[in-house]
């Protein structure tokens, strides 16, 4: 699209002589969206507190008991608002995904977990103290009285326990000790936690009494969040699955422990151009169907006819129990698909020049990006890293693509030097090479990095040292 823009208007050139950067406008729009999302985030929190202010909430501070209750109400409003924002961040909404990327959205989602929990806990404690003081009760007796006497409150207590369970199991340290499936199942309890918290907000919460506009606002917020989750996480994947009718065509061994899975399907032209963006695949075979696999396409879909009938391909390495089963997939297995998600694609570009660095199985998204992202010959550098040549998966295809499109290709193989933080193999590190040694124009390039996280962080450090700014760096975690 962007290359077309250039050829349609070839006369536009900067007075300085440099080519017009077709990605500049796209980059500006993305920044604007990011800023807009930031504003919306804070505005929604302010809005939650404003609901209470608009109800004359400040009057509560006239008495000590009222002050506790008032603070408790504010904590509850802000906490619930954060919970809704967390759900929206995890809803895979295209606007968010195309602005900050899936991994950053989830990272932010994780960061909000603890503040949300603390606010909700504060809500419960402060209200118990405030109500208790108003009646001359200690907070514990008041909590018991609330549980027993006020309708819907027992649900709120259950909700609180569920929230604690969800946040505690989600904390990374704990997550490591449990299998992913357990963590995932507990995470589904979030929905139960939110649902059980809703009744008391509308029946006991004074703010959302019938007939108040606050009630409508809050209801709209909750319903919109639920609708977004339902649409983007359930309806769209189901529709996409039926639309593309993917079935496994064959499984090809690429290297030891690495297989390419070819799938045939319909309307594959709609999936073209996704570059290194990832899809979530579920192979509908016994014991496999419930396990989601995030992989990007390792090649642009090939379609044979106008109906988009054709094949596409993903390339997978045995990283976990789930991935290893994929090598034995039977042809004909139906495949459910969601996506594409993420920003490892042309839509993240901000410059003419592009540098792509991939290691191990992280080479496959680089392969897909290289195939589809626009650049003029000489404006792209591809660096592949592996222990040996055989670990540079799809190396032949990438070499071929680089020849055709005019990109510079480097193969960096060999072990890391011991005890040194570097992403380079020993001989290159000894020779004093840096990222800038491979592409002198890197400071004015988009840098895409995909590979194991420790390695990737070393690449990113090197890139920053070479003068690459944060907004030029496109790194997507894929070991989650």
């Amino acid at each position: 699209m962007n290359t077309q823009l250039l050829t349609n208007r070839p006369g536009i050139r900067r007075s300085s002589g440099g080519a017009v950067n077709p990605f500049r406008a796209q980059y500006r729009r993305r920044l604007l969206r990011a800023d807009l999302l930031t504003v919306l985030f804070w505005a929604s929190l302010a809005g939650a507190v404003a609901l209470w202010l608009a109800d004359g909430g400040m009057a509560g501070f006239a008495t000590p008991a009222g002050s506790f209750t008032a603070l408790g109400i504010v904590a509850g409003l802000a906490g619930m608002d954060l919970v809704l924002l967390m759900l929206l961040l995890a809803a895979r909404i295209p606007l968010i995904d195309q602005t900050v990327g899936h991994d950053r959205a989830l990272e932010f989602h994780r960061k909000l977990g603890k503040p949300a929990l603390y606010l909700l806990l504060a809500h419960g404690v402060l209200i118990a103290i405030g109500y208790g003081m108003a009646e001359g009760l200690d907070p514990v007796s008041e909590s018991v009285a609330l549980w027993v006497l006020v309708p819907d409150m027992w649900l709120a207590y259950i909700s609180m326990l569920l929230f604690i369970a969800v946040v505690v199991t989600s904390l990374v340290a704990v997550r490591r000790r449990f299998p992913y499936e357990f963590w995932y199942a507990v995470h589904l309890l979030t929905y139960a936690a939110v649902l059980t918290s809703l009744p008391h907000q509308f029946s006991v919460g004074a703010l959302f009494a019938e007939g108040t506009w606050q009630r409508w606002y809050w209801l709209a917020l909750c319903i919109a969040t639920g609708a977004a989750l339902l649409y983007f996480r359930v309806v769209q994947p189901v529709v996409a699955t039926f639309r593309h009718q993917l079935t496994v065509k064959r499984v090809v061994r690429v290297a030891p422990g690495v297989v390419s899975i070819e799938m045939s399907g319909l309307r594959l032209d709609e999936l073209a151009g996704s570059g290194g963006r990832f899809f979530i695949w579920r192979f509908l075979a016994p014991g496999l169907w419930w396990h989601p696999h995030p992989f990007s396409l390792s090649a642009e879909p090939v379609h044979f006819d106008a109906a988009g009938q054709g094949t596409l391909r993903i390339t997978v390495r045995n990283l976990g129990k789930g991935s290893s089963q994929l090598a034995s997939l039977k042809p004909g297995t139906k495949v459910a698909v969601e996506g594409p998600y993420g920003l490892f694609s042309t839509s993240a570009r901000s410059r003419n020049h592009v540098v792509m660095v991939g290691a191990g199985i992280g080479i496959t998204p680089v392969r897909a990006l290289l195939e589809s992202t626009p650049f003029q010959p000489g404006n792209a550098t591809v660096i592949l890293r592996g222990h040996s040549e055989s670990e540079l998966y799809l190396g032949e295809e990438i070499l071929d693509l680089c020849r055709r499109r005019g990109a510079t290709l480097f193969h960096l193989t060999g072990s890391r030097p011991a005890g040194v933080q570097t992403w380079l193999p020993e001989h290159a590190a000894r020779a004093g090479h840096r990222l800038a040694s491979y592409d002198p124009k890197i400071a004015d390039a988009d840098v895409y990095v995909c590979g194991p996280s420790v390695w990737a962080h070393n690449v990113l450090e090197d890139a920053r040292a070479a003068g690459v700014r944060e907004d030029q760096i496109h790194y997507e975690r894929f070991d989650w």
């Binding site: 404003a50 006497l149 703010l207 009494a209």
Partner: protein, 171 residues
């Protein structure tokens, strides 16, 4: 660019908070006038003596000591015609006190002298619950009626105060 986001977010949030606060000041005034108006219509008698200044004991439905048994408690004869105020019951949403009118041993009317009015929500709840409770009590001729869902605290306080009034009327 990040500064742009920070400044816009700060301005937007401040604007929303100030707008909320301003309309809140306004609502607080009208809110209290609604509450006092409600109190004015119900509490026309002068009998609500102890308006619950002492913090009550027990749970939300506990009864405080009865107010001055003023008004029309003429004697204690079972068949007497008159009005009997119930006890003042403290709840976290305000005090509740009802008064019954008895004629020939039957409850002919229940008047709310005070209803929960701590917040606007409480006033709404009271306005909704009181007429229903009154009808049910008149029908059942006792305090043995269902509480109104969503107004449990108000209902229980109402019925407790009513029971005290029934006791006073020897019904």
């Amino acid at each position: 660019m990040r500064t742009r986001a920070a400044v816009s977010a700060a301005l937007a949030s401040a604007g929303i908070l100030i707008a909320g606060w301003q309309s809140g000041v306004h609502v607080a005034d009208t809110g209290s006038s609604v509450a006092s108006a409600a109190a004015g219509t119900t509490g026309a008698t002068g009998s609500s003596g102890s308006s619950g200044t002492s913090s009550s004991s027990g749970t939300s439905d506990s009864t405080a000591s009865s107010g001055a048994s003023g008004a029309g408690t003429t004697g204690a004869s079972a068949k007497a015609v008159g009005t009997y105020p119930g006890s003042v019951v403290q709840t976290r949403f305000g005090s509740v006190q009802v008064q019954i009118t008895v004629q020939a041993g039957k409850i002919t009317d229940v008047t709310a002298l005070q209803l929960t009015d701590a917040e606007r929500k409480s006033v709404q709840i009271s306005n909704r619950a009181a007429p229903i409770l009154r009808d049910e009590v008149l029908q059942a001729q006792s305090a043995d009626v269902q509480t109104i869902s969503g107004a449990t605290v108000t209902s229980e306080a109402y019925l407790n105060s009513l029971q005290a009034a029934l006791d006073a009327a020897n019904l």
